[in-house]
Subunit: 343 residues, 3 copies
């Protein structure tokens, strides 16, 4: 039973225009197939246009060129971005109930903002600073001398190693581990000697880190995640990596040690980037691809080893034809008078 808004209200807040009844009361957003008469239905994909026709949604959120008649519509330039705004309208983030739960543990010399919330079973090491309205859920363990900004959320069972720095509005999902030792060993004969990892992790403002992801501390200095970057679940970021601003690291992707990602880089699911590489701004890496060399800004690379996506498609198309081509070639006389061994 949240707040309701008229279609006109909604259009005004997202820079859209109403077709139909601007006074219609809307109580929430739903996917087309679930929306009812008091919902704003969302048309996420052209393929769903037929569903739109049959939807019971009271109104639809659509792009300017969508052809739909006889429906209440809110037209907006970017419906997906508008969805984000409408969802925030109906589901505003409530400030937490401030205070440190008596069953939480806070170390010596900490500065916990009075508007922060530290829940039962959270453990905060000595010398930490936590900003206003930040939530620390149960089971979170924060090492010594961490600094966490305001309006951040640490979901249950997150682990921050000592000296981790998180900016404002950072969200860390359950089970993520930030600041663990980098994987650095020197070989001595058949054995490995650990190289102490004495750096830390710095996470910029507005970063989100998915469940059970891992970000290792730098060997000497900082592993850095740039402002606005979004990291999905089960992602690995190794020591000394520098991730630029506004990057997207999709689930189960990984970045090996000391690699730099520029601004706006997109790593699709299960992709990986080898160590000590430079990945330029706005590079896209396809799903399950393995980047083994530097990549120039603006490239879209796919495959293992990752290559230009058009080249990869041509190679895959050629490979699909290859068995038949080789069959045909069997009867071609071998070059240079050599005897055929294949076939």
């Amino acid at each position: 039973m949240g707040a309701t808004y008229t279609l006109g209200d909604i259009a005004g807040r997202i820079g859209g225009t109403v077709e139909g009844d601007p006074g219609l009361r809307i109580e929430g957003v739903r996917p087309l197939e679930e929306a009812g008469p008091s919902h704003l239905g969302f048309l996420s994909d052209g393929r769903y246009a037929r569903q739109a026709a049959g939807s019971r949604a009271g109104a639809l959120l659509v792009s300017p060129d969508e052809r739909l008649s006889g429906r209440n519509l809110v037209r907006v330039a970017d419906p997906y971005l508008a969805l984000a705004r409408v969802m925030n309208l109906f589901h505003p983030a409530a400030p937490p109930r401030p205070g440190v739960d008596p069953e939480a543990r806070v170390g010596r010399g900490c500065e916990i903002d009075a508007a922060a919330a530290v829940l039962a079973g959270a453990r905060i090491g000595d010398g930490c600073r936590i900003g206003a309205r930040t939530r620390v859920h149960s089971g979170v363990v924060i090492g010594e001398e961490c600094r966490i900004g305001s309006d951040a959320i640490l979901y249950p069972n997150v682990t921050l190693y000592p000296r981790t720095v998180l900016g404002d509005r950072v969200i860390v999902h359950g089970g993520a581990v930030i600041g663990s030792d980098g994987f650095g060993f020197a070989r001595e004969g058949a054995e490995y000697r650990k190289i102490p990892q004495v750096g830390w992790v710095e996470v910029g403002d507005d970063v989100e880190i998915g469940a059970n992801s891992t970000i290792d501390r730098g060997t000497f200095g900082a592993t850095r995640i740039g402002r606005g970057t979004k990291i999905d679940n089960l992602v690995q970021v190794a020591h000394n990596v520098q991730v630029g601003e506004h990057c997207i690291l999709v689930a189960q992707s990984g970045v090996a040690g000391s690699t730099r990602l520029g601004r706006g880089v997109m790593l699709a699911g299960q992709s990986g980037v080898a160590g000590h590489l430079e990945i330029g701004d706005e590079v896209r890496v396809g799903a399950k691809s393995a980047v083994l060399d530097d990549v120039e800004a603006g490239s879209f690379v796919v495959g293992h080893p990752a290559a230009d996506h058009r080249q990869w498609k041509r190679m895959q198309a050629a490979l699909r034809r290859l068995p038949e081509v080789l069959r045909r070639l069997r009867a071609v006389p071998p070059a240079g008078g050599r005897r055929r061994r294949e076939g």
Copy 2:
């Protein structure tokens, strides 16, 4: 010092027949190489037949057509299934010691069955329901308004976000996170705006979820895991995914957002399925494969991009021959009178 059973008892309970001494007392099951005179040895694989001959096992669990003489045998149609039953005979699941530990924390308005066990350091949010004989281990954090069936087990450090629903006999291994926010962002210029994820996760009866796996909540409605599905460790299931009944998701596999898996789908280790796809019933996806398109029921697909497994094998065989074939082709005059540039 558990219970012992005669060979005849065991055969009767698993629908098998004894060859040799039905009165032989058996005190456990062991792999062939470890089994002694009071153990039932298990022949998991044809390759081990020679080991069977040399095994000290008092008796062997074998298929009807296995050739072995001079040994006590229990013959059964499906020895691997029989193993599951015999193991359950020797290792019955004991009901937990019921009750809420004084060092656990249970929110307001919860209904915790009197036969459930909530261990020290578990935290349960307001308004949760937990069924009979369900175990909630230390370090588990359960958000508000979760519903958990009976005979379930939540191993240590599991996180359930609010409104997660788990059926009866669900097993969730250590560190798994269920209900985290889906990875949904709308781009605005160079930046990303979070789309609030207000759905939940529903997990059917008899599902098992491996250690440190992650299942995201739906954007609006439910991410669903069908009854009887088994999920291994470090598996990612994204928001809005619908996994059918009796599927198998092997370790480090992943399913991207809004994809539907039918019944009995099998994703081998480190495989991935892209978003918004339909994967039919009984589809098998090979290890490390990347499914980028819909897959018809009953298919077995392999590779990146995943293709029919026979086609993939032919392509790989052709690729292995390719370097030699290209070498031979060097001397073939180029087509169409063009100058050769390659070679």
Copy 3:
């Protein structure tokens, strides 16, 4: 403000020789670009030689054949190994403050060495043994009858299932789960029956296990990690696997059930090894490769399916040429008088 050492001290401890001022006081190690006049700069890679010339480092740690003049140098046969030693010199591991925190929970019949440290919010089951100077951080949950050696570290939110055995100096990073049930199910019609997993995990001395990695218990006996092996983050080791001594398992790699890795095996990032295989000593598996067959000792394999790395390179090079080759072949008359269908 840690201890400082003269260049001569340092050289003596790492078996190196000084060029320049042996009395120079050094207060730490830094990467070349960050090092100042009181730091020993580290030249990790030939490519950085130019940076070395411009570095403000008071001295440089270099190999015997490095050409640099007019600088204070410590020359040593293996600078990377020397780095590990110098780092340990400047960052010695301090013994923990011993004792069991009043907010920790220790079960009945445990033997916790008086010099061990068990922090607030750690939970230790009945019958466990924990050695001298071992640290058990907050949020760690240890099941019944585990045995942990001396000088080990269990970072926050680690889960050990019952009967796990960890050797001396083992390090387990945050969120790792050791001893979870193996993924063993027998099919019965359309459904799966769980095979109880009654084994355990044994981890040798000097092993390090990364954040959120998972190691399943054996079905009957032990899953084993050999002495000195280093496991990175988000790695999966399935039930009954036997990992030899001094192996390296890089992030997001996985080993399926019952496979044996010899001594000194190296699995690069995101690689996988199928089940029931034998991987010989000193085998290297390339990044993102999928090993589907046994591999002989000393091999270096890459790809999916993994093949000899030279063969894989030739195959990839040939594949890159393939689209152009097929284009040229269009005009070649088909073999055997058949009509062309391709092109």
